[in-house]
Protein backbone atom coordinates (compact mmCIF):
# COMPACT_ATOMS: atom_id res chain seq x y z
CA UNK A 1 0.00 0.00 0.00
CA UNK A 2 1.25 3.46 -0.83
CA UNK A 3 0.35 6.71 0.84
CA UNK A 4 0.54 9.84 -1.25
CA UNK A 5 0.77 13.15 0.55
CA UNK A 6 0.53 16.31 -1.52
CA UNK A 7 1.92 19.61 -0.29
CA UNK A 8 1.65 22.32 -2.93
CA UNK A 9 3.32 20.87 -6.00
CA UNK A 10 5.42 18.49 -3.92
CA UNK A 11 4.48 14.86 -3.60
CA UNK A 12 5.47 12.63 -0.70
CA UNK A 13 4.93 8.96 -1.39
CA UNK A 14 5.44 6.45 1.37
CA UNK A 15 5.47 2.83 0.42
CA UNK A 16 4.32 0.99 3.50
CA UNK A 17 4.27 -2.48 2.04
CA UNK A 18 8.01 -2.94 1.86
CA UNK A 19 9.87 -4.39 4.76
CA UNK A 20 12.18 -1.41 4.58
CA UNK A 21 9.96 1.63 4.38
CA UNK A 22 10.97 3.76 1.43
CA UNK A 23 9.84 7.35 1.13
CA UNK A 24 9.81 9.13 -2.21
CA UNK A 25 9.60 12.90 -2.40
CA UNK A 26 9.03 14.52 -5.79
CA UNK A 27 9.55 18.28 -5.90
CA UNK A 28 9.56 20.98 -8.58
CA UNK A 29 13.01 22.30 -9.44
CA UNK A 30 13.02 25.52 -7.45
CA UNK A 31 15.29 26.40 -4.55
CA UNK A 32 12.31 26.50 -2.14
CA UNK A 33 12.15 22.71 -2.49
CA UNK A 34 15.59 22.20 -0.89
CA UNK A 35 14.54 22.82 2.72
CA UNK A 36 11.28 20.92 2.23
CA UNK A 37 13.24 17.78 1.39
CA UNK A 38 15.82 18.09 4.18
CA UNK A 39 13.15 18.89 6.80
CA UNK A 40 11.17 15.81 5.82
CA UNK A 41 14.23 13.56 6.04
CA UNK A 42 15.47 14.99 9.34
CA UNK A 43 11.95 14.72 10.75
CA UNK A 44 11.89 11.03 9.87
CA UNK A 45 15.12 10.51 11.83
CA UNK A 46 13.75 11.86 15.14
CA UNK A 47 12.95 8.41 16.61
CA UNK A 48 16.46 7.12 15.92
CA UNK A 49 18.39 9.23 18.45
CA UNK A 50 20.92 10.37 15.85
CA UNK A 51 23.72 12.68 17.06
CA UNK A 52 23.61 16.38 16.21
CA UNK A 53 26.80 16.01 14.18
CA UNK A 54 25.39 13.22 12.02
CA UNK A 55 22.14 15.15 11.53
CA UNK A 56 24.18 18.17 10.42
CA UNK A 57 26.02 16.04 7.84
CA UNK A 58 22.82 14.43 6.54
CA UNK A 59 21.11 17.81 6.25
CA UNK A 60 24.07 19.44 4.54
CA UNK A 61 24.64 16.63 2.04
CA UNK A 62 20.94 16.29 1.24
CA UNK A 63 20.64 20.01 0.61
CA UNK A 64 23.82 20.07 -1.51
CA UNK A 65 22.63 17.10 -3.61
CA UNK A 66 19.11 18.51 -4.08
CA UNK A 67 20.51 21.93 -4.92
CA UNK A 68 22.82 20.41 -7.53
CA UNK A 69 19.92 18.43 -9.00
CA UNK A 70 17.72 21.53 -9.19
CA UNK A 71 20.28 24.10 -10.30
CA UNK A 72 22.81 22.11 -12.37
CA UNK A 73 20.74 19.05 -13.37
CA UNK A 74 17.34 20.56 -14.10
CA UNK A 75 18.69 24.07 -14.72
CA UNK A 76 16.07 25.49 -12.30
CA UNK A 77 13.28 24.60 -14.76
CA UNK A 78 10.20 24.36 -12.52
CA UNK A 79 8.59 21.96 -14.98
CA UNK A 80 11.35 19.41 -14.39
CA UNK A 81 11.13 17.31 -11.27
CA UNK A 82 13.70 16.29 -8.69
CA UNK A 83 13.05 12.92 -7.07
CA UNK A 84 14.44 12.06 -3.64
CA UNK A 85 14.06 8.57 -2.19
CA UNK A 86 15.28 7.51 1.22
CA UNK A 87 15.13 4.53 3.49
CA UNK A 88 16.86 3.13 6.55
CA UNK A 89 18.65 -0.18 6.35
CA UNK A 90 21.24 -1.85 8.61
CA UNK A 91 21.57 1.21 10.83
CA UNK A 92 22.23 3.60 7.96
CA UNK A 93 20.18 6.04 5.92
CA UNK A 94 20.24 5.69 2.14
CA UNK A 95 19.35 8.84 0.19
CA UNK A 96 18.98 8.94 -3.60
CA UNK A 97 18.58 12.23 -5.46
CA UNK A 98 17.72 12.14 -9.16
CA UNK A 99 17.14 14.90 -11.68
CA UNK A 100 15.87 14.93 -15.25
CA UNK A 101 18.99 16.52 -16.69
CA UNK A 102 21.61 15.05 -18.98
CA UNK A 103 23.98 14.28 -16.12
CA UNK A 104 27.66 15.13 -15.82
CA UNK A 105 31.09 13.56 -15.49
CA UNK A 106 31.97 13.42 -11.78
CA UNK A 107 35.61 12.86 -12.65
CA UNK A 108 35.75 16.17 -14.52
CA UNK A 109 34.91 18.23 -11.44
CA UNK A 110 37.92 20.27 -10.32
CA UNK A 111 39.30 19.77 -6.80
CA UNK A 112 38.06 22.85 -4.87
CA UNK A 113 40.87 22.57 -2.32
CA UNK A 114 43.78 23.31 -4.65
CA UNK A 115 45.49 26.69 -4.38
CA UNK A 116 44.01 27.84 -7.72
CA UNK A 117 40.45 26.92 -6.79
CA UNK A 118 40.28 28.05 -3.15
CA UNK A 119 39.03 31.52 -4.10
CA UNK A 120 36.35 30.19 -6.42
CA UNK A 121 32.74 30.88 -5.55
CA UNK A 122 31.41 27.41 -6.29
CA UNK A 123 32.36 23.75 -6.64
CA UNK A 124 32.38 22.61 -2.99
CA UNK A 125 29.02 20.79 -2.84
CA UNK A 126 30.01 17.39 -4.23
CA UNK A 127 33.35 17.58 -2.42
CA UNK A 128 31.58 18.05 0.92
CA UNK A 129 29.23 15.15 0.14
CA UNK A 130 32.22 12.91 -0.62
CA UNK A 131 33.87 13.84 2.64
CA UNK A 132 30.90 13.85 5.00
CA UNK A 133 28.90 10.82 3.86
CA UNK A 134 30.09 7.24 4.41
CA UNK A 135 29.45 6.54 0.73
CA UNK A 136 28.39 8.69 -2.24
CA UNK A 137 28.10 7.32 -5.77
CA UNK A 138 26.74 8.74 -8.99
CA UNK A 139 25.10 6.57 -11.63
CA UNK A 140 26.86 6.29 -14.97
CA UNK A 141 25.16 9.27 -16.58
CA UNK A 142 25.60 11.42 -13.48
CA UNK A 143 21.97 12.45 -12.94
CA UNK A 144 21.46 10.35 -9.81
CA UNK A 145 23.48 10.21 -6.61
CA UNK A 146 23.10 7.59 -3.88
CA UNK A 147 24.43 8.59 -0.48
CA UNK A 148 24.77 6.43 2.63
CA UNK A 149 25.35 7.65 6.18
CA UNK A 150 25.55 5.47 9.26
CA UNK A 151 23.13 6.59 11.98
CA UNK A 152 25.10 7.18 15.16
Amino acid sequence: MSVIIRSGRSVFLENLSMETKKTVIIVPSQTESIKKVSSKILGSLKPYGVSAETLFDIRLCTEEAVRNAIVHGNLSDKNLLTTVSYWIEDGAIFIEVEDEGVGFDRGALPDPTTEDNLMKGSGRGVYLIDRLMDSARFNESGNKITMIKKLK
Binding site: T31, I34, K35, A52, E53, F56, R59, L60, E63, E64, R67, P112, T113, L118, M119, K120, G121, S122, R124, G125, Y127, L128, R131, L132
Partner: protein, 110 residues
Amino acid sequence: MAVKFEEKFGLTVCHIEGEVDITSSPDIKKAFDKLISKKTPKIVINLSRVSYVDSSGLATLVEILKNMRTYGGKMRLANLSPKIKSLFEITKLEKLFEIMASEEEALSNF
Protein backbone atom coordinates in the same frame (compact mmCIF):
# COMPACT_ATOMS: atom_id res chain seq x y z
CA MET B 1 18.97 35.20 9.78
CA ALA B 2 20.13 38.61 11.03
CA VAL B 3 23.30 40.61 10.37
CA LYS B 4 24.34 43.35 12.78
CA PHE B 5 27.39 45.58 12.70
CA GLU B 6 29.06 47.47 15.52
CA GLU B 7 32.23 49.48 15.97
CA LYS B 8 34.72 48.25 18.57
CA PHE B 9 38.15 49.80 19.15
CA GLY B 10 37.91 51.42 15.72
CA LEU B 11 37.21 48.08 14.03
CA THR B 12 33.99 46.77 12.52
CA VAL B 13 32.49 43.69 14.14
CA CYS B 14 29.75 41.82 12.37
CA HIS B 15 27.42 39.44 14.21
CA ILE B 16 25.55 36.96 12.07
CA GLU B 17 22.70 35.09 13.72
CA GLY B 18 21.02 32.02 12.20
CA GLU B 19 22.05 30.06 9.14
CA VAL B 20 24.54 31.04 6.43
CA ASP B 21 23.22 29.10 3.47
CA ILE B 22 21.60 29.25 0.06
CA THR B 23 18.54 31.02 1.50
CA SER B 24 20.31 33.70 3.51
CA SER B 25 23.39 34.24 1.30
CA PRO B 26 21.87 36.98 -0.92
CA ASP B 27 20.92 39.05 2.16
CA ILE B 28 24.35 38.55 3.75
CA LYS B 29 26.04 39.65 0.52
CA LYS B 30 23.83 42.74 0.38
CA ALA B 31 24.65 43.68 4.00
CA PHE B 32 28.39 43.45 3.30
CA ASP B 33 28.18 45.26 -0.04
CA LYS B 34 27.52 48.50 1.88
CA LEU B 35 30.67 48.05 3.99
CA ILE B 36 32.73 47.07 1.00
CA SER B 37 31.56 50.10 -1.01
CA LYS B 38 32.85 52.23 1.90
CA LYS B 39 36.15 50.32 1.76
CA THR B 40 35.89 49.29 5.41
CA PRO B 41 39.48 48.30 6.18
CA LYS B 42 39.07 45.59 8.85
CA ILE B 43 36.08 43.42 9.66
CA VAL B 44 35.71 40.72 12.33
CA ILE B 45 32.81 38.35 11.66
CA ASN B 46 31.56 36.75 14.87
CA LEU B 47 29.87 33.44 14.01
CA SER B 48 29.00 32.37 17.57
CA ARG B 49 25.29 32.42 16.76
CA VAL B 50 25.56 30.64 13.43
CA SER B 51 24.23 27.10 13.61
CA TYR B 52 24.55 26.00 9.98
CA VAL B 53 26.69 26.80 6.94
CA ASP B 54 26.42 25.18 3.50
CA SER B 55 28.55 25.48 0.35
CA SER B 56 26.65 28.65 -0.68
CA GLY B 57 27.44 30.16 2.70
CA LEU B 58 31.13 29.27 2.36
CA ALA B 59 31.10 30.76 -1.15
CA THR B 60 29.53 33.95 0.18
CA LEU B 61 32.24 34.37 2.80
CA VAL B 62 34.90 33.74 0.12
CA GLU B 63 33.31 36.38 -2.09
CA ILE B 64 33.24 38.95 0.73
CA LEU B 65 36.92 38.24 1.45
CA LYS B 66 37.77 38.51 -2.26
CA ASN B 67 35.95 41.83 -2.56
CA MET B 68 37.70 43.21 0.52
CA ARG B 69 41.08 42.20 -0.81
CA THR B 70 40.55 44.31 -3.96
CA TYR B 71 41.12 47.42 -1.83
CA GLY B 72 43.50 45.88 0.72
CA GLY B 73 40.81 45.17 3.33
CA LYS B 74 41.23 42.41 5.92
CA MET B 75 38.76 40.01 7.49
CA ARG B 76 38.87 37.69 10.47
CA LEU B 77 36.37 35.04 11.50
CA ALA B 78 35.73 34.30 15.18
CA ASN B 79 33.80 31.91 17.42
CA LEU B 80 33.10 29.15 14.94
CA SER B 81 31.36 26.08 16.36
CA PRO B 82 33.53 22.94 16.11
CA LYS B 83 31.29 21.58 13.34
CA ILE B 84 31.43 24.73 11.24
CA LYS B 85 35.18 25.02 11.83
CA SER B 86 35.51 21.46 10.51
CA LEU B 87 33.89 22.56 7.21
CA PHE B 88 36.63 25.17 6.82
CA GLU B 89 39.23 22.48 7.53
CA ILE B 90 37.74 19.94 5.11
CA THR B 91 37.50 22.48 2.29
CA LYS B 92 40.96 23.90 3.16
CA LEU B 93 39.37 27.35 3.45
CA GLU B 94 41.19 27.62 6.79
CA LYS B 95 44.23 28.50 4.65
CA LEU B 96 42.35 31.44 3.14
CA PHE B 97 40.72 32.87 6.25
CA GLU B 98 42.16 34.03 9.54
CA ILE B 99 40.10 32.00 12.00
CA MET B 100 40.29 33.03 15.64
CA ALA B 101 38.93 31.29 18.72
CA SER B 102 37.22 34.37 20.14
CA GLU B 103 36.14 37.88 19.18
CA GLU B 104 38.64 39.33 21.67
CA GLU B 105 41.45 37.41 20.02
CA ALA B 106 40.27 38.53 16.59
CA LEU B 107 40.24 42.17 17.68
CA SER B 108 43.71 42.13 19.24
CA ASN B 109 46.65 43.08 17.04
CA PHE B 110 44.38 43.47 14.03
